[in-house]
Amino acid sequence: MANYIIEVVIENKPAARDPEGETIGRDLINKGGYEMITGVRTGKYLRMKVKAKSEKDAKDIVFKMCNDLRIYNPVVHTVTIHVKGVEK
């Protein structure tokens, strides 16, 4: 068993407006001289350690947990799960 480091990113679905991202994009980034940045979306980030037999197992456990406990609201959010490595 190893301790895997997993990142969970929760974002609004494209159909769900993200006024915070819009404000950061328009009023900070674009007005600050970075007009080439054409879209900003904010989200929520969770970093967790998971004891599992393999990378795949770790990812599966977290995916199941996200759905079981409604870590995201599937009506308006998407969730992305990345394995970032193993704790040494």
Binding site: P19, T23, K44, V75
Partner: protein
Amino acid sequence: MKVAVIQFPGSNCDLDTVHVLRRVLGIKADLIWHKFFDGSSYDAVILPGGFSYGDHLRSGVIAAHSPAMKNVKKMVDDGKPVLGICNGFQILVESELLPGALMQNDCLTFVCKWVALRAETNRTAFTSLIPRGEILHMPVAHHEGRYMIDEEGYRELCRNDQIVFRYVSEKGELTKESNPNGSMDNIAGICNKEGNVVGLMPHPERASEKTVNLYGTNDGLLVFESMFECIKTGRKMPCRSLAVCK
């Protein structure tokens, strides 16, 4: 007749709600800590406003996993009236007892003001005494009140007559200016298909006594009086909507 008001860590409108039930409406009401709630001895339950569990992760999501919510679900299945006010509405949505999501206000700030609402249906346990189209005044106070649902879900809400309140202008029109949080189609409150579960962002308990608000209104009391009527008359739930399409 006995009504429960569930107190979660971070609830802060619980005592106001109990006050209105006991002192204004004159019914028996218990304030119950969420860990000790058992719905079998109650005729109705209210999830009050506040910031349960500090709004961590998402407003209402942690309270939705409280043991109390299993008992609330049982009451819903038994057809008993269940009301969620503000954070209570968020808890009902996160418990999947009501569809959709309540997202951060589009203005990005906490909004605390009086709003005009139009009653859209009187088939629910909490609006039976409010004529359709009636304009009511109540305050809102929230940061995550922007109601959102996918297209199919929205069609379902309309088909099943599940939209209970909309934010409107003083003339009763749906305008962008009258929408305090950017809610889809100015939605301020919805119900389940059966009409016994209602959630709304405005606070009826803060608009139930003419003497304690600047506007001299007690429109919010109609919500609690409707519940009282529903329990008293033993109105059977689920009550079918006339608007249901197959």
